[in-house]
């Protein structure tokens, strides 16, 4: 619910911003895109170890393939990405602004907020205009199975795309790129047998998005 509210507010804000200035001579550009992001994961290891009982000794190099511990295979992951950007047009080749959205990685969602630049490639603005985008910022942990244990982290994401201009300052976008996002899970532990557990996460994804700009 929080996510939905957040997104709605973002969109309303952008729409309001877009309407404040006449479209023909607008100094602002807003893009809204949606798509998928794809990546791979390594195989998972047992979640725990059988340290209780007197003569079972834990050996981290031994693969305890007990039925109660999930050992997930390596595989492909695909998740939803929603992305919005609002920026000031310094020149058609350089639009500076901020971006935000929602990204789903495996079973955890993140809300990235980043400083972003966009701009047209090859100098001229035509009906079919290639553009670049580059952003770096912080991802806030969103809905996830670990709740407050999961902390967000730094992200950066470059990409390229094509804008099909409609002629009145609006356009249709197709873009692709890369996303690197870091996060950390500080797990709750029993404090007796397991004293601390931290998972450093680095998500690497390729994304494909479609949307529109105004």
């Amino acid at each position: 619910m929080k996510t939905v509210t957040f997104l709605t507010l973002c969109l309303v804000g952008q729409a309001a911003m877009g309407q404040n200035t006449p479209t023909a001579t607008s100094h602002w550009r807003t893009t809204v895109e949606m798509g998928v992001q794809m990546g791979q994961v390594k195989p998972d290891v047992p979640a725990g170890y059988p340290y209780y009982g007197y003569d079972i000794i834990y050996n981290p190099y031994y693969n305890y393939n007990y039925s109660y511990y999930p050992v997930r295979d390596a595989g492909n992951r695909i998740g939803l990405t929603i992305h919005a950007f609002t920026g000031y047009i310094v020149s058609p080749q350089l639009i500076t602004g901020i971006s935000f959205g929602v990204d789903y990685f495996n079973n955890s969602a993140f809300l990235p907020i980043a400083a972003a630049i966009q701009g047209d490639l090859f100098g001229r603005t035509k009906r079919l205009t290639p553009f670049y985008t580059l952003e770096s910022g912080y991802a806030i942990a969103g809905p996830n199975p670990h709740g407050k244990e999961l902390k967000g982290g730094w992200l950066w994401s470059p990409g390229v795309g094509v804008r099909i201009n409609k002629g009145n300052g609006t356009g249709f976008l197709i873009s692709a790129g890369y996303k690197h996002l870091e996060a950390k899970q500080v797990a709750t532990v029993d404090g007796v047998q397991i004293l601390a557990q931290t998972e450093q996460r680095v998500y690497n994804r390729l994304y494909f998005r479609m949307g529109f700009s105004f």
Partner: protein, 435 residues
């Protein structure tokens, strides 16, 4: 323009991988099996050079000497003639040692299956004079368990250490519940959603193996000397040794105790045995023939006991390995004017109480990490807190001739309590915890 384009595309070249990199770092207690031939354990014991305190255990005071157990390793001997400046004399290497007691010039210490008698008349040159079997063939020390196998003549023990391991994971964490099952399965997951159900189902079963076993912590063997008898308690047995001739302890009767025994406290003609589920009172008017007077049961918790006059002070610590979840931490004052019918006179809530000591009218209660609390116990039914030391770690305490000795994870502290309302720190022997 071409150059700037190149600069923009360079990061893309760098993107060689779309694989998540996740590393889980876990710090845990690691137990390693150790086998000790009994012949190694039975090497003659003699004093060695002083060693730093690492994991201090029980504390014992005899005249001006101070004995501190290094859990399962041996005993540190200190000359404490000047409590402001205790001086390390020697270290006795005794495998499997957890407890001790002194009669005259003889120090009794346990060493796995044996009771060792050591001559301490010259503390700089302590030597072994005798050794008898206790009859105990297994025991719990802290979180580790040892046992003795007669046929292979070996002690099977565990070494506990803190270890860290880092493993690569699939970035999905370990979890028990999935509150966002539906939206995430819809948006964020590619592979079959049954994996969730499987994980949730299996992790629900897992606690049968991952709940800490109760009764492991704090149940060390305990020693007490009353008249000519040495009483040694194991988890469930009270074993007597006749020490009429101190250098030659003779194994005597034994009594079976049904509860996990934690402490033994001799007072006048009685023995008070604190267990995880209650307190036994034994009459030792005839020392070699202890008679059970009462078994006073309470909720399951850790409970050292001390006695003064008609009142026994028992601390119950629920929040630990020997308690059950939700048990309250209290200090109980038990009326024992009738030894065969003890009853709780008053209960005081107290955070994580460990060992305690009384030098009437002052009562000292250790609170582990929470420090040490001093009470005025002139009226046991109305204990008045006098002073609190929050910054010490204390699990056992001995008040002796206006000097208070407290032992904890960070070492031994000595206080002057000539004025019980204002304890003065005399000295500290710092421990260097292994972790």
């Amino acid at each position: 323009m071409k150059a700037s384009l190149l600069v923009l595309l360079l990061p893309l070249v760098y993107l060689t991988s779309c694989t998540d990199n996740c590393e889980r770092t876990t710090t845990y207690r690691k137990y390693t099996s150790v086998q000790l031939p009994i012949s190694d354990v039975r090497q003659a014991i003699s004093s060695g050079a002083p060693q730093p305190l690492i994991e201090p255990g029980k504390l014992y005071v005899k005249d001006q000497y101070l004995f501190i157990v290094e859990v399962k390793k041996g005993i540190h001997v200190f000359d404490n003639s000047n409590p402001s400046n205790p001086r390390a004399i020697s270290f006795l290497s005794i495998p499997g040692n957890v407890d001790m007691a002194v009669r005259d010039n003889i120090l009794y210490a346990d060493s796995y299956v044996d009771l060792v008698a050591l001559d301490i008349s010259n503390p700089t040159a302590i030597k072994e004079v005798n050794r008898v079997e206790t009859g105990f063939i297994n025991g719990l020390v802290g979180r580790t368990y040892w046992s003795y196998d007669k046929t292979s003549m070996k002690i099977y023990d565990q070494r506990e250490e803190i270890a860290t391991t880092t493993v690569k994971t699939d970035c999905e964490g370990s979890f028990n519940i999935l509150p966002y099952l539906i939206p995430i399965a819809w948006f964020g997951r590619y592979y079959e959603s049954l994996a969730f159900a499987d994980v949730a189902y299996n992790s629900a079963k897992a606690p049968t193996t991952t709940t800490p076993t109760t009764g492991v912590g704090g149940s060390m063997a305990r020693f007490a000397i009353s008249s000519n008898q040495l009483y040694v308690v194991n988890n469930s047995t009270l074993q007597l040794f006749d020490i009429t001739n101190p250098a030659n302890p003779v194994k005597g009767k034994s009594a079976t105790l049904n509860w996990n025994v934690e402490t033994i406290f001799p007072y006048r003609n009685s023995l008070f045995i604190g267990t995880t589920t209650g307190m036994y009172i034994y009459d030792v008017t005839s020392p070699a023939e202890p008679k059970q007077l009462a078994a006073f049961s309470h909720v399951r918790s850790c409970d050292p006991v001390v006695v003064h006059d008609n009142y026994a002070y028992v601390t119950l610590r629920g929040t630990s390995t020997c308690g059950v979840a939700g048990t309250q931490d209290v200090l109980d004052v038990i009326d024992i004017s009738n030894l065969s019918a003890p009853r709780v006179a008053k209960s005081y809530p107290l955070e994580t109480p460990y060992g305690l000591g009384i030098d009437y009218p002052t009562l000292f209660v250790c609170q582990g990490n929470k420090g040490l609390q001093v009470f005025n116990a002139s009226n046991p039914l109305d204990l008045k807190p006098q002073q609190t030391f929050a910054n010490v770690n204390a699990f056992d305490v001995i008040p002796i001739s206006k000097t208070l000795l407290t032992i904890g994870k960070d070492g031994l502290y000595q206080y002057d309590y000539a004025n019980p309302a204002d304890l003065r720190l005399l000295s500290k022997i710092a421990a260097q915890p292994a972790y």
